[in-house]
């Protein structure tokens, strides 16, 4: 076993930002808006670093696909304990149309190239909420997948994954190499500390182009329109219970 874990990290608009739709409805405003690592990616990095601290794996490699600024996100992963980074350069129009299918092709190519034992991703990104990249990557690689993981334990060449599902928790055992996607309760990510941020500056980030991996970035999806959800309407006050029942019937609620 190579003992190498790849972790995908995505740069997204920070969860605390109030999102605004562009006036031309083509997307959301990203200029000048705070960006940070997708929260589920933080959890993925934390899990990988924990595995290394337990000496169950040997190396954590952080991967991000995007423009120049994606390197900041990789640096954060390095400050959390990842050993080195890979920045897959995607910019301009290609970046605007970058989605799970292209990213999973990139991840699959890298997982093979780096001889990864595990690929850990966040279960979904908070900007598109797709929840597809992990699953697609596993399919492309024909690897087992442990998605929505709330607990992960390595056992030789197998991984035990406790998954959060609608009915509760499901425990599965899969062989490595495998793809895991991190859910909220998997762990609590550590904060980057100043000394670690300084150390991270010296860690290596390799630059790779999608073409070098044989990946075609053409998107098969076209975004037609982005709109805000409808404004919340004011409530209506009624005088009597009969009025209330009447109104509920009127609006088809009962």
């Amino acid at each position: 076993m190579s003992g190498r874990v790849l972790v995908g990290v995505k740069r997204v608009i920070d969860y605390a930002v109030k999102i605004r739709v562009k006036p031309d409805n083509s997307g959301v405003v990203t200029d000048g808006v705070k960006h940070s690592m997708n929260p589920f990616c933080e959890i993925a990095v934390e899990e990988a670093v924990k595995l290394k601290e337990k000496k169950l794996i040997k190396e954590v490699v952080a991967v991000s696909c995007g423009p120049q600024q994606s390197q900041e996100t990789i640096r954060t992963a390095l400050a959390m304990g990842a050993d080195r980074g890979i920045h897959v350069e995607v910019a301009g129009k290609d970046y605007e149309t970058l989605g799970p299918l292209q990213v999973s092709k990139i991840m699959a190519a890298l997982a093979k190239k780096e001889d990864a034992q595990l690929l850990i991703l966040g279960k979904q990104a908070i900007d598109d909420d797709c929840n597809q990249t992990g699953q697609m990557t596993a399919a492309l690689l024909d690897w087992p997948q442990g998605t929505f993981a709330s607990e992960v334990s390595l056992d030789g060449d197998k991984v035990k994954v406790v998954r959060e599902i609608d009915g509760g928790l499901e425990t599965i055992k899969i062989s490595t190499p495998a793809v895991l996607t991190a859910d909220l309760r998997l762990n609590t990510p550590r904060y980057a500390t100043l000394p670690n941020i300084m150390k991270a500056k010296k860690k290596k980030i390799a630059n790779v182009k999608p073409a070098d991996l044989g990946v075609d970035l053409t998107s098969r999806l076209e975004v037609l329109k982005v709109e805000e959800p409808p404004q919340r309407e004011a409530g209506v006050k009624v005088e009597t219970v009969e009025d209330l029942v009447g109104k509920l019937k009127e609006t088809g609620r009962i």
Partner: protein
Amino acid sequence: MSVFAAILSSFCLINDHPDVISLQAAAVDGVLSAFRSICGDDGVSLGEAVREQHGKDESFHRCRPPDVVVFPRCVEEVSALAKLCHRHQLPIIPFGTGTGLEGGVGAVKGGVCFSLRNMDQILDLHPEDFDVTVEPGVTRKALNSYLRETGLWFPVDPGADASLCGMAATSASGTNAVRYGTMRENVMNLEVVLADGSIIHTAGKNRRPRKTAAGYNLTNLFVGSEGTLGLITKTTLRLYGVPEEMVSAVCSFSSVQAAVDSTVQILQAGVPIARIEFLDEVMIDACNRFSSLSYPVSPTLFLEFHGSERSLEEQVNTTEGITQSNGGSDFQWARDVETRNRLWKARHDAWYAAQAMRPGCKAYATDVCVPLSRLPQIIVETKEDLIESRLTGHIVGHVGDGNFHCLMVMDPSDQDELHRVHLFTERLARRALAMDGTCTGEHGVGLGKRSLLCEEVGPSAIQVMQSLKDAIDPKNLMNPGKILV
């Protein structure tokens, strides 16, 4: 108003003079459209629920709603609104998160509550200089979340997720003060709107040197002024590096004396301890029940150490040596972040845990602070007083600062109990004053401690405070009825 009257007034009505009310109501009506033209139609609210929400905080003091609540979006709007209030003699009450503990937001003379929550920008972060400027709508948890990838944090932690500008206004402190200081040490500059609408920067606009000798210390004049001198619309804060490692521990003792003696010795040994919290057996019992824990029911210290791995080892060894020499139990450890968070949540939930012991009752927290060497004596005497007065009181506190809280739980309908609480509280405050301490370590003076403040600083100092107030707010529009009698 005495502490007793303050407590009593929370449970029964005190009528304001009807003529004053109708005069003011007319004035408020007159300015409403002007208010709306400044902060928009939905920036002005007369709704009863909204006014009640803005007339109370987390203390037992009854709700005193303002006549109207305004929601300015920027300092220019705050200034324009203040100018209007100034012209029409309307009281101005600044409102952050309403998490205060001394009734500071009650509009005792009605007036206009300035809810500043829509001003929620984090501005001007300078990681290399360890400073950041925030608006009043930014809470400490929101700031620390924003900072999470920078390796920096703002450590002052009063428990509640309070507005940072509000924390500046009340000179807040918390569990970390023993290592990182209180708001007084960590506010570098303030933007303040005065009652007449003028905007000042206490250390000069955009200035953020780590130290200065320039002129009167206006920044620290406004820190702790509880909204009585101006509205804080920006605060520039000192940031710290996130600790490399943190570890927490719980240690039980057979007596209060042993726990408090350990505290004093730990600090005298020079251990840079980050948190050292004392809980008496009554408090631990309540916490056990409320948070489903199973700590031994006896005087306890919750400890937290920050530093590099090697530094932690040294700190812990020294501390363990001290606690053991005082008969302390083996440490119960919390190393990973989930366990540590659970431990400190139990401590922060003390307020609710205490109330849960007597459902239907109201809680009141005393808050005195004395020099460290007097701590053992004051806690022991206070516990004896509690027993003699037949009161339900839980002792919890930041013993590293010599600051502790007695969480009293009382039945609001029991006049005799209220009376005993009043007398006990006054005795406690006076006990602290007699030991060269203060009647409020961190909660502020607010409504209930104004006469104690007089005793604490003396008439000459009170006169200076009054002169400052008269000079800065001659019409007494800024949060009337607080701090000064």
